[in-house]
């Protein structure tokens, strides 16, 4: 792992964002944050990211819509959806998102998923 992967964490809950960001920094990634789809779009325009984590329930453009947008605009970008709803899994994993992770205090699943996606 020569170059550090650049990850953007998108979530409207500040503390959730913080938690994910701190864990990912600690795991050795370069991490940026965005509180909404709007903010994320601006950051993506000026920076190059390898992966985004995306909360589904957000005010404004929700995560699902935004994932569709990202998939179309930036084909190489890996997308991980994060949500409290477990029943979204089958609907979403098949198309826009590369992976789907249910929110949990234990971020191990998230980190492993990210690692796997970035190694591909």
């Amino acid at each position: 792992m020569g170059k550090k992967h650049n990850i953007l964490v998108i979530d409207d809950e500040e503390n959730t964002r913080l938690l994910i960001a701190e864990e990912l920094l600690e795991a050795g990634y370069k991490v940026d944050q965005a509180a909404s789809a709007e903010e994320a779009r601006k950051k993506i325009e000026s920076n190059s990211y390898d992966l985004v984590t995306l909360d589904i329930e957000m005010p404004g453009m929700n995560g699902v819509e935004f994932a569709g947008f990202l998939r179309k605009e930036i084909p190489g970008l890996r997308i991980v959806l994060l949500t409290a709803y477990s029943h979204y899994r089958h609907d979403l994993s098949s198309w826009a998102a590369d992976a789907y992770v249910v929110k949990s205090p234990d971020l191990t699943e998230l980190k492993e998923t990210i690692k796997k996606l970035l190694e591909m």
Binding site: T16, L19, E23, A84, Y85, K103, S104, P105
Partner: protein, 896 residues
């Protein structure tokens, strides 16, 4: 002597006889002379004298010279030989030495011998003649015609008479005509036709007993006649022919005569007589033959007549069968079909084709209706054969016609060529006569050609020049026209058929008229029947409607007495009709105690009253009814004759509705739980996550401090969420109603929130109604107001505007909070009150859901959000007076 007779002089037989006589008489010489009566002379036939022998047969002595010739020398004494006074000849004996008696005895023997011989010859000739006569008679009987008879007559006459030539001459009106001849060649005949005034022939004609002519002169044939016999042939006393025999043939042997003699003449007369008889016979025979022929002709004509009669009878039978079939149907189109079938069937009239026109009296036109017959010339035989086979299956022709007509489809084939084809009959050379004068017309090719273009319309349709046009005449008038032809067989139309066609056409006309009348009658009857049925039906319907209605009906009068009820009501109350009708409504059952009053109210107002989901206990069961009280107006519509109470049992629907509501609640609860879980998962993740990090970094005081702070904040957040969830999901709680001024409440809330607004540079405006007293739970309304203002501040960009408005309406009070933020979509406006539907970063997402609950469930008001031109407005309405809860009973009055 026989030798002499058979072979004549040249046999020298008489010389031998003379020698014998000479020896017997012991004479020197002997000569024998024979008498030839036709010339009255004697001929030397035998002699012993050597100098005379050379003259035998040629020396002839006339009767008068007899004594002179022989009386001279040596006393020759002629000894006359006579038999029964008939002179046969004489014998000269020269110098006889025997005794006179002996000589005479010898002569006597000779004389007898000669006589016998003469008799023999005569008898032989007679026998031959008789034989020939028999032959003649037989041949006459054989003869079948005159010319044959004539030919046989001349041939046999020639044979019988030993005639050289025989002629048969017929007397005609202007001349004699030789009709038959024998022994004469064509070259020898100069002329066959001889004038009536011919001297010889007219002489012959005048001799009825015949005539013998010696050396007559014949100028019509080149024959030298030595002797001739003739006899007229008389039939019925009239001379018709002359039979003539000319020249006797020379015969071998000696005869005393060589010309025809009297006996020949009598024979000829016999022949003539027989010929006459034969002629008569032939005449009668031919008469009989002609009679016979005539009789045969009569027989044939008679048989023909019988055949015709039989044919006629058969056709009359057909007429009968067709007539029966025609009368059997009451469908006019079927009657037409039967008629056409009868006319074209091989078992019927066997016309090749039958074309039917119907008459349209108004337009004076004939309209093509149907055309029966093979349309395809190639398959004619096949089609007829098949039709024949079908017809054969029926013993009864009438039956065949009826059944064939039913299955016969005349819409296709020839019919297509003439369907609706129109020919005007007025002035038409054929159809005017047929339609107006009811004439059957038989058009033959010459007639067709003479009519020329005048009938080109029908000729071009038919493609033939011979056809029959038959009117179909009903009781009063011509209904239509049938055109018949024999296009394929080309057979001419039988005249006899025309007569019969007339009968058929008349029969068809009557049958058709009957069928049409029947059809009309049937339609009329059907119409009447239908009307009666409808009336019947309506009566039954109105009767049965009342009885079979699923709604229980009861009619009461002004005194509250039941006038009428239906079955459903009996079933509902489980009380028989007898216990309901005429009883006062209030006595019928619990259900009706209250209803009596309502019914009386309807009498008073004349308006319909409806109760919905009226709850009652019937037979220990909870039941719900929709009940409608309607006025029953009298005929005049001025006076009410009663009140109709219609009771619908809606228990099932009501219960189903309740179940549906319960299900909806459960579904909402399920969704709610999911949302709650989601809302809780975020803070739990954060708390858990940071607690883990805290544990990891417990020795870093800076991190420890930050993590503790985050966890504390999230726990507080969690607490808020839980308490709001509790509040939202709490059972509807009782509200404390107090009357207060809502404007004061608005002031209080705005003041409370002003600081926050000012921080954002937001101005808050108030438009307040001067009359502002409401009765409601003040604390709960305050909570709603705070929520709305707080939401407004959050939705408004910096330096925006908020406007709070109060408005008193007739029975309600409205409060609205407007903000100048971006207008929300209609979709969001609908969803915004759904629990946890949130568009903002802060808050639990239950605030508006709780507000809606307070306004709508607790205060029986209404709450909504709507996008405005330059912002969004949230509003709520509450009744001026706090609504009391009811138990579901509603009474609505509606004008009728």
């Amino acid at each position: 002597m026989m030798n002499f007779l058979q072979k004549g002089y040249s046999s020298n037989a008489m010389n031998d006889v003379a020698q014998i006589l000479c020896e017997q008489a012991q004479a020197a010489e002997c000569d024998i002379y024979m008498y030839e009566p036709y010339a009255d002379r004697y001929r030397l036939v035998g002699s012993t004298r050597s100098d005379l022998k050379q003259f035998v047969g040629t020396l002839k002595i006339n009767s008068s010279d007899k004594n002179e010739v022989i009386g001279s020398e040596e006393n020759p004494l002629p000894v006359e030989i006579k038999y029964e006074d008939k002179v046969l000849g004489f014998v000269v004996l020269a110098n006889p030495q025997n005794r006179r008696e002996r000589i005479e005895s010898i002569m006597e023997g000779f004389r007898v011998l000669l006589a016998l011989l003469a008799s023999y010859v005569q008898l032989q000739d007679e026998a031959k003649r008789h034989q020939s006569m028999r032959e003649l008679t037989e041949s006459f009987y054989r003869a079948t015609n005159m010319s044959q008879l004539e030919e046989e007559t001349v041939a046999l006459t020639s044979k019988i008479l030993d005639a050289q030539t025989v002629l048969l001459i017929k007397k005609e009106d202007s001349s004699y005509v030789m009709t038959a001849h024998a022994g004469v060649t064509a070259e020898q005949i100069i002329s066959k036709s001889i004038p009536l005034n011919h001297p010889l022939l007219s002489k012959m004609e005048k001799k009825p007993r015949g005539a013998l002519f010696l050396k007559p002169k014949l100028d019509f044939v080149t024959i030298t006649a030595k002797s001739l016999v003739s006899s007229p042939v008389e039939v019925d006393g009239k001379v018709l022919r002359l039979l003539i025999a000319v020249n006797k043939k020379a015969v071998e042997g000696y005869r005393t005569h060589y010309h025809f003699d009297k006996s020949d003449l009598s024979t000829l007369r016999e022949i003539a007589k027989r010929f006459s008889i034969a002629c008569s016979r032939l005449k009668y025979q031919s008469m009989i033959e002609s009679e016979n022929k005539q009789l045969k002709e009569y027989t044939e004509r008679y048989e023909e007549m019988i055949r015709n009669q039989q044919l006629h009878l058969r056709k009359m039978n057909l007429v009968h069968s067709i007539g029966n079939a025609l009368r059997s149907s009451y469908d006019p189109s079927n009657v037409y079909k039967i008629l056409l079938l009868g006319l074209t069937s091989g078992k019927g009239f066997a016309f090749n084709r039958a074309l039917l026109f119907q008459r349209n009296k108004q337009d004076e036109a004939l309209i093509g209706k149907m055309w029966l017959g093979p349309s395809d010339e190639d398959n004619v035989m096949k089609i007829w054969k098949e039709a024949e086979e079908r017809a054969l299956r029926y013993g009864d022709f009438s039956q065949y016609l009826r059944e064939e007509a039913i299955v016969l489809d005349l819409e296709k084939g020839l019919t297509q060529k003439i369907k609706d084809f129109v020919i005007g009959y007025r002035g038409h050379p054929i159809f005017e006569r047929v339609v107006l004068h009811r004439k059957i017309l038989h058009i033959t090719p010459p007639v067709a050609r003479s009519l020329g273009n005048g009938i080109s319309d029908i000729v071009s349709i038919l493609g033939v020049e011979e056809f029959v046009v038959v009117p179909i005449v009903g009781r009063w008038d011509t209904i239509g026209v049938v055109v018949l032809d024999n296009k394929f067989t080309g057979e001419p139309v039988n005249e006899m058929d025309l007569e019969i066609l007339k009968i058929i056409a008349d029969s068809a006309g009557l049958a058709l008229e009957n069928a049409m009348n029947y059809d009309e009658l049937r339609k009329k009857t059907l119409g009447l029947q239908q009307q009666r049925d409808i009336i019947d039906h309506l009566r039954k319907v109105s009767e049965s409607i009342l009885q079979s209605l699923d709604t229980a009906i009861i009619v009461v009068n002004k005194e509250g007495k039941v006038l009428e009820c239906n079955k459903k009501l009996e079933q509902l109350l489980m009380v028989p009709r007898e216990r309901i009708v005429d009883f006062p409504l209030r006595d019928i059952g619990e259900l009706f105690e209250e209803m009596d009053e309502i019914a009386m109210k309807v009498f008073d107002t004349g308006k319909t009253i409806s109760l919905s989901s009226y709850r009652t206990i019937l037979g220990h069961r909870e039941r719900f009814f929709d009940i409608k009280f309607s006025p029953l107006w009298g005929a005049s519509k001025r006076q009410m004759s009663g009140v109709i109470v219609a009771i619908d049992d809606v228990t099932e629907q009501y219960k189903l509705e309740q179940e549906r509501k319960d299900r909806e609640k459960l579904a909402a609860l399920g969704e709610m739980s999911a949302r709650v879980a989601h809302e809780l998962r975020n803070p739990i993740m954060v708390i858990g996550g940071f607690l883990k990090r805290l544990k990891k970094n417990i020795n870093d005081p800076q991190s420890r401090e930050r993590y503790m702070e985050i966890v504390t904040r999230e726990v507080e957040n969690l607490e808020n969420i839980v308490s709001e969830i509790l509040e939202f999901s709490k059972e509807k709680r009782g509200i404390e109603l107090n009357t207060f001024d809502i404007n004061d409440l608005v002031d209080e809330v705005v003041t409370l929130m002003e600081e926050k607004a000012t921080q954002q540079g937001i101005t808050v405006e108030k438009i307040l109604d001067p009359i502002s007293e409401v009765t409601a739970d003040r604390a709960r309304i305050k909570r709603v107001l705070i929520n709305l203002v707080q939401n407004a501040i959050e939705a408004t960009p910096k330096h925006g505007k908020i406007r709070v408005k109060t408005l008193r309406e007739s029975e309600r009070f409205r409060v609205s909070v407007w903000n100048s933020g971006e207008p929300i979509s209609e979709d969001v406006a609908r969803k915004v009150f759904v629990p946890f539907f949130t568009t903002k970063t802060y808050g639990t997402g239950l605030g508006l859901a709780i507000c809606k609950k307070i306004i709508e469930e607790e205060h029986k008001g209404r709450m909504w959000a709507e996008p405005k031109v330059n912002g969004t407005e949230f509003s709520f309405e509450i009744p001026l007076k706090g609504e009391e809860e009811d138990n579901g009973k509603e009474a609505q009055h509606s004008g009728d």
